[in-house]
Point group: C2
Chain length 695, copies 2
């Protein structure tokens, strides 16, 4: 599949259809770039009106070329572009990059784009775009792009790859990183992704052994295959991937539709998918570009405990707040360390972490170099923030920066700098340390980096097979639903499906004590709305009456009567929900969370994409709002989270193993104390209709 796409990163020849003499035009810019940035293959301008383009011989048409170029850039608009795709297929071009806009991102152009993609696939032409700003590989000089950014910020090969549907988002990170002196090898903008997607290109680029970090901007994820493949390759190589996936809001999704024709993804499922694949999802461009430097240092964080060092108490206070927000506990320094610091610092300095050198640094610039070795020896520290909000001519800032860089090298632990003053920031950056303006930014970047390292320890799973379209399906009745779940390993309440009053009364007798009686019908998924749930029935007359009522209610409503379920009343600690459905892109999704009446209005759930294990569930449950209650508060016992995790794993396995199941909804799942387990009190399983067979 990707064998023919590889070549777009290092083609032997590139034709430019619609090549222009003017290097500022879309058809002129790539010609200029290919010559300017060291491309060693053939550059073949195509323009019927000129014999020469930017000093190169020009050809009147693709057909007039002496051989089939590996890659063709289609820099003509509209119908001419569509015709050029056909022309590329005719002569045997391997990859075409189509820059024209006005296709899938407009209502009128969607069908034409789909058709064009299908024809290209049928003819073995890989198609990048339409609406693509082009691709750029600065290792090979294959700069097949009309972006003007590579003039604004001259390229330098380096360890960063940027893959984006958007043209702007391929070059904004490029420009910012280049401005910070960081080299960028790949900067690709794939546009509407009608055939080649940014994710597919990422799966090829991820194999580049010189890369240290990969940045993705994805407006939609149409399939998981390539992204999962990229994640697995990256994991094997220890290559971190950061993804910016906008369209989180309805307003953003509408905008993405008119930008790259993006279909809306279910945002929380995107979160779960990226997390499961070790891909860090960043909130915005700032988080993305500000993260890069930390990845380039080669640090392997071993823990989360932060030490803050500053010449300003305010930095200490604000950094401690920020660390709390970011979930980085302040390291508790050893008594020995604190004693060492007290011996050096003035008596009014703070020597417990955060360490406030105070304005005494103004009188004694050596304080900084004296305390760092003391702190470096403390094993409680996992990462460091050094904040120098104010310094100037009266301080030896270059020495601070050198000392900090030596300290970082000696400890091998992550060190970030907060320095709002340009002169101070410049000195620390020159010493090779990641510099941020403010404490909050530095701490957030550090926390993101540490979180990602924790996320990336697990091997991403193989992509599940693409979800089949299963249609609406039909609900199983409660008894069948519970049976299906029980077989799958989910504990369900003891119950009897009773077809007659006598059976119901006998069931009451058998259970002893109060029971619940529920009308059972495959036609009804919301029983209480029809009055089909009777609770706490304590004598046979009440049970018989309930049987009759349920039967009557169903039959009068013209609904199927499958009997009544009789079950003992159960008490637990909390009603949860456990469900699953199939996302059209991401496949099975399991949902676990707080139950009750307002699960939609006040959602408190976590999503997991199977396959996952019990430890994954327990980690995910920590993100619930009700997590403290599940662990036990007010002297209460902890609830049976292992049993809850096992039930969630069972539902995940069921979704993988039973492809006919469309959805599962266990609500409530009653959670008890440790030792009491969980039990499904009610459930609806929806299954695909079996395919019709010939009689």
């Amino acid at each position: 599949m990707s064998s023919s796409l590889d070549i777009v990163l290092d083609p032997a020849s590139v034709a430019i259809i619609g090549a222009s003499e003017n290097p500022d035009k879309i058809g002129g810019r790539p010609v200029d770039y290919l010559r300017r940035f060291g491309f060693r293959g053939r550059v073949l301008p195509i323009n019927p009106n000129r014999a020469e383009i930017q000093g190169l011989p020009s050809f009147p048409s693709l057909e007039a070329l002496p051989f089939a170029p590996d890659v063709a850039i289609i820099a003509v608009p509209g119908e001419a572009a569509v015709a050029a795709v056909e022309g590329c297929a005719d002569v045997g071009v391997k990859v075409a990059i189509m820059m024209a806009s006005g296709f899938g991102e407009t209502e009128g152009g969607k069908a034409q784009e789909r058709e064009m993609a299908a024809r290209a696939r049928a003819r073995n032409l890989r198609l990048v775009g339409p609406n693509s700003q082009g691709l750029a590989n600065f290792a090979t000089g294959a700069v097949l792009s009309f972006s003007s950014m590579y003039l604004e910020a001259p390229p330098q090969d380096g360890p960063v790859a940027i893959l984006s549907q958007s043209g702007a988002m391929s070059v904004v990170p490029y420009g910012v990183l280049r401005g910070r002196g960081i080299g960028v090898r790949h900067s690709h903008a794939t546009g509407n992704d009608c055939d080649v997607t940014a994710a597919e290109l990422a799966s090829i680029v991820a194999a580049d052994p010189d890369l240290r970090v990969m940045l993705l901007y994805l407006e939609s994820i149409a399939s998981t295959e390539h992204l999962a493949a990229a994640a697995r390759i990256a994991h094997a190589r220890d290559l971190p991937i950061l993804a910016l996936k906008p369209g989180r809001s309805a307003a953003g999704q509408a905008a993405a539709r008119s930008h790259t024709g993006a279909l809306a993804n279910e945002d929380r499922v995107v979160d779960a998918f990226l997390r499961r694949h070790g891909i860090r999802r960043v909130a915005d461009t700032a988080e993305m570009v500000d993260a890069v430097e930390l990845y380039l240092k080669g640090w392997k964080p071993r823990g989360r405990r932060l030490v803050v060092i500053s010449n300003s108490g305010a930095t200490c206070v604000m950094a401690a707040d920020a660390a709390t927000v970011a979930g980085l506990p302040m390291a508790r320094l050893a008594d020995e360390t604190q004693a060492g610091l007290r011996a050096v610092l003035p008596s009014f300095a703070a020597t417990a972490n955060p360490i406030d050198i105070t304005a005494a640094l103004l009188s004694n610039s050596r304080l900084f170099s004296q305390i760092l070795p003391i702190i470096a020896r403390d094993p409680a520290a996992d990462a460091f923030l050094i904040g120098v909000p104010v310094a100037g001519a009266a301080y030896d800032v270059p020495a601070f920066a050198r000392d900090a860089a030596e300290f970082a090298a000696e400890t091998g632990k992550p060190v970030v700098i907060a320095a709002p003053q340009a002169s101070v920031a410049g000195a620390f950056a020159a010493a090779g340390l990641p510099v941020f303006a403010y404490e909050t930014q530095a701490v957030a970047a550090l926390a993101g980096f540490i979180n990602h390292a924790e996320l990336a320890t697990r091997l991403p799973p193989e992509a599940p097979p693409p979800a089949a379209l299963l249609g609406e399906g039909r609900p199983l009745n409660e008894a069948d639903s519970l049976k299906r779940l029980s077989e799958a390993g989910v504990p369900v309440m003891p119950h009897r499906l009773c077809r007659t009053e006598d059976e119901a009364a006998a069931a009451w007798e058998g259970f002893g004590g109060a029971v619940a009686v529920k009308g059972c019908s495959a036609d009804v998924t919301h029983k209480s709305e029809l009055g089909l749930v009777r609770l706490g029935l304590a004598d046979p007359q009440a049970v018989r009456a309930a049987f009759r009522d349920c039967r009557r209610a169903l039959l009068e409503a013209g609904l199927r009567f499958d009997g009544v379920l009789v079950a003992p009343m159960r008490r637990g600690r909390r009603e949860l929900l456990l469900g699953a459905h199939r996302d059209p892109v991401f496949g099975p999704v399991v949902v676990v969370g707080d139950g009750g009446k307002y699960v939609e209005a006040l959602p408190d759930t976590v999503l997991l994409l199977p396959p996952f294990n019990a430890a994954d569930v327990l980690t995910a449950l920590e993100r619930l709002r009700i997590a403290p209650v599940l662990r036990g508060v007010r002297g209460e016992q902890a609830m049976e989270l292992d049993a809850l995790a096992a039930a969630a794993v069972a539902v995940g396995r069921l979704m993988l193993e039973a492809p006919s199941i469309i959805s599962v909804d266990v609500n409530p799942l009653l959670l008890g104390d440790v030792g009491e387990g969980v039990v499904a009190l009610d459930a609806v399983v929806i299954e695909a209709e079996p395919p019709e067979t010939a009689p």
Copy 2:
């Protein structure tokens, strides 16, 4: 009170105790600054060892001066500094600024600092510090500071005031703003605030008619008086105040204690206080400094509807997401506007808001100037984001910037720019528009500005009188608590306090139907733990038995028996909580929120500081997680929020009018449908013990 403090901003004479020949020393820097920055008063170095300091005649002591200086800077450390305070009082200095550290921010120095402050007050000397970096007023040249920042970033008088306890946080915003070409008049660092506080100084500075924005950094708020005064003065003058108040977390509070000796404030009460006083609380330095430019434009936002314009679809998508997060709805443009845009832009451009000019701007730089007038006419737009993520030599960026500035001037509405490229950002900044690197930052800054304008419309209240220390107090029993609340205007359940079994049975008779019986004792605030709550009793025998049980349980536990409460069982829609307490700094605080068992583990409450009205409560309730449920979801009726608001207002009034009440805890407050009102089902009022009087 402040009359003598005023003079510190424009003194006729300044003595520097511990003046140094070396301008890089703490005692040398102010001497240098006073001469360098145009101070027109007398500068009086005091140093027993030199006849001349930095070219000025030096005096051996304060006493040797020919007259009492208005202000003295105490630049000597430790005990010498303490002695200097006395010396200042002896000669009649009006304000002393004490730079020495090692007082209230250390365990050993707290008592000494308190004593020093008390003595200064007794002797009519106003004392700034200790641990103060000093004050700087660039309008008068009274730069009484040892900060080196004013050398790094040369001053220019302007419309910004910065008041901070921390030295760093007085000059970091200064440095950043000066770097952006913004003038700063005041930059004051008050240190430990043992006498003069940053807030008191703010209340004086706020009267400066040339100011357009005031920035505060407060590590603790020891009293509300001056901050409330500053807020009222600022409100009258339409001067926005932004406050950074760290110590939100336990780690931050611990750090603040060793920095400026800050006492921890209850963070949510700080939030409520600042909000009520129209002061915008910023999360960090970045938010503070990035906000300033918007305030300097003189914009008065009239609404929240945002229009996004960009040459990049990705900016459009990310800005729409950011607007959703920030609570700025995307404006719905008039059909006429969209038609006008369609006539100008290419067919594939997005003309619904966000407006994506697309890469077509590369071929036609005039598109930008053509669309702005069309958008300017649309009344649906309240504010604008213009995003130019990529542009360069091929674009006419200076023209874009001029067009955008004209557009802003024409509409009079807020316009923010997102431009990560330095060259583009520079052009827009030169045209006088507020520029941010990324969409998210620009949208967040705009939303903060608009939110603040909404917040600042109401007149801040007078500061309530300082809270008296009321001690532990004693709880009233339930009957007395309910009586107190009922008299205050809070609806309470109908009930009878019964002293005998017969009275209880008669009460049951009187109410009809099932009742609740609760043991009543001023010794018990948690009845259910003692088994004193019996619900749903439907016959007189059960009521009598419950009476006996409650009586026995109390007497056996050695607790007072005040009778039992009999009350009809009530059903409502949701159990809320309504409470109040007295904060030692901020006075009465009313808490409203969701009720139930886990109000501590899963808090969902809002705080209000009396006096407030029903509209304030309704606005605050919108911030509750359960707000959608209160408004009605799943086809349910809305709940009776007006009655809830009235009950909260009644409790707020009670706390103001009955200073002996220490706390109120109504839990549950039963909330019904609209028309059904609220009713307190249980309550504990704690009242101060009446003062002992002679027999």
